[in-house]
Amino acid sequence: MQPILEVRNLTKVFHRGSLLARDRIVAVDSVSFAMQRGEVFTLAGESGCGKTTTARMILGFEQPTSGEIIYEKNQERWHPKIWFSQRIQAVFQNPFETFNPLRKVEGYLFETVRNYGLARSRAEAVELINAKLEAVGLNYGEVEGRYPSEFSGGQLQRISIARSLLVDPALLIADEPVSMVDASIRMSIVNLFRRLRDELNMGILYITHDLATAYYLGGQIAVMFRGNIMEMGPAQEVLINPRHPYTQLLRESIPEADPDRKWQGRISIAETEQEEYLRTGCKFAGRCPQVMDICKKQVPDLVDVEGVQVKCHLYAEQKSVREEVS
């Protein structure tokens, strides 16, 4: 099947510091993955792992330093903007920042209808908007004439999703969509993604640090750390049997809502992020409990272990994915 989105060796380098002492920070380091329609693909990782930079490059907000982003039918990066935004829509982290507080929420919905010429009359527009709001569990009557301050974060996030549904996109990019939403209504948004995937056959690129919801959504997952994909494969396999020591640490660090399963053992934390970005060899070597000499010198290859790709020297005897391809 033709992937709806494919990313090949995507790299983004940021420079920081003065002209004389410049640090080169590789925020995204040759990341490759592909996703299908009707599938949730999760990019997971902690802050500073490069997941949002990857999303920004896919959305065209940031120019990649190198690498390719291929949307369906091999359309290159220079696609017409209207084609792009009809196929790909985004939902962002903070629903309170998405909407102008002085403007009625319905204005955003009508503006999208007008921009894409989706309706010929106002009545038709209202009908379309109402249908999309119903898909997210609201209706036009609840939204009409109201300002953003009259809604809760969860409602605004759902309105934001309804707006992106107006153009019937094939791919929805959701950047930390539930991290600002209260725990008691968080699952209503995650369940909505499940429905969009199953009923509308949409592809959803779900960017999150919350591995529990990633597990719940299923599909594929790529765990990122300091710009690299450390482990990639089916979400339920990766999160139940993490193979990379970093995924294992991440998985163990999630506080489970079960007093019988408390954290065991102790962990160490990097003092600064910069030292990890500038590390040669495996970026995780400084904190890895199973570190070997080779890890500090040489970057490991992404290797295939029982259907899961792992970037770790512990699995070096397995066949490299790169060799397999060539």
Partner: protein, 339 residues
């Protein structure tokens, strides 16, 4: 519970934000009748979603009430050296002497409390010199160093400027600073929010270390039920300015009684289970305009006629208490008899 075990208790505590708005006053009932008893040598958790009043409760307990927040009713009693006193009856001097030596407060976003232009050790010196008399600068640095070492943090941070440390490290230094004078009660407001999962675990590890070392009381406010399951001994759930349920943490997770607590716990996704999770319907209420009766009734799938009319009082089932008509059969029967 023996009375001598109690380090902090409240009686019908009410603290409201009173705001002047055109045409009158707007009253936000952030803390609306809270009864609490917190023991020595325990980690007590306060859970609830944003806007339920948990941070305001924390400030009120710490006697940090500034306008527009007002203490409307009730009192907060601490017990120190076998004597109980009302914290709102103290004058400013007495209150100042208690702060940091008897009770300490780690506010939300504590990682940004440091002065950015001085080294961490200078912050320690400032802190010590304003609370201890008759120490030389060297003695103070020595104390700071020893304290940092005991808590397992790297001593090199004392020579660093705040911006050189990661957010998680700054947060831990802020918590370590609060524990420096060995207070009997430490309040920590959302200490793990906005931190990465691995760093969260480091912060929780530090809080546990402090509690084990000092055998004191830590009161932990967070909306993250996973953190509560991991560290707290007892837990209360707050909704719309009131405590709706309180029990030992294990009991809350095993046997939640209030429908809201049930939603809160059952909606959490668990590894190894992809079954449908449902969150509570509707939205949390505005504290300026609370629903009648039980504040949860508009969202409650088990709401009864009485829930709309009368607010449920606490029902005590041993150490477990819950404010819900479903568990107050006696109250319901009385209501039916009178109407």
């Amino acid at each position: 519970m023996k009375p001598s075990d109690v380090v902090l208790r409240t009686e019908n505590l009410k603290a409201h934000y009173v705001l002047d708005v055109p045409g009158g006053q707007k009253v936000v009932r952030a803390v609306d009748g809270v009864e609490l008893q917190i023991r020595r040598n325990e980690i007590y958790g306060i859970a609830g979603e944003s806007g339920c009043g948990k941070s305001t409760l924390m400030k009120t307990l710490y006697a940090w009430v500034n306008r527009p927040l007002r203490l409307v009713e009730g009192s907060v009693f601490y017990s120190k050296d076998g004597q109980e006193f009302d914290v709102y009856a103290l004058n400013k001097q007495e209150l100042r002497r208690l702060r940091w030596t008897f009770m300490a407060y780690v506010p939300q976003g504590a990682m940004s409390i440091f002065n950015p232009v001085i080294k961490i050790k200078e912050t320690y010196r400032d802190f010590l010199s304003s609370h201890l008399r008759g120490k030389t600068v060297e003695e103070m640095f020595e104390m700071a160093k020893e304290h940092i070492e005991q808590l397992g943090l790297p001593v090199s941070i004392l020579e660093a400027y705040p911006h050189q440390l990661s957010g998680g490290m700054r947060q831990r230094v802020a918590i370590a600073l609060a524990a420096l004078l060995r207070p009997s009660v430490i309040f920590a407001d959302e200490p793990t929010t906005a931190l990465d999962v691995v760093v969260q675990r480091g912060v929780v590890q530090l809080l546990k270390d402090i509690q084990e070392r000092l055998h004191n009381t830590i009161i932990l406010v967070t909306h993250d039920m996973g953190i509560h399951a991991n560290v707290t001994d007892r837990l209360c759930i707050m909704y719309a300015g009131r405590i709706i349920e309180e029990a030992a943490t294990v009991e809350i997770f095993k046997n939640p009684l209030h429908p809201y607590t049930q939603f809160l716990i059952n909606s959490l996704p668990q590894f190894g289970d992809t079954g449908e999770r449902v969150s509570a319907p509707g939205q949390p209420p505005s504290l300026a305009n609370l629903p009648s009766g039980c504040a949860f009734h508009p969202r409650c799938p088990q709401a009864m006629p009485i829930c709309r009319e009368r607010r449920p009082e606490d029902t005590k089932l041993g150490e477990h208490r819950v404010a819900c008509w479903l568990h107050a059969e006696r109250g319901e029967a009385e209501y039916a008899a009178n109407s």
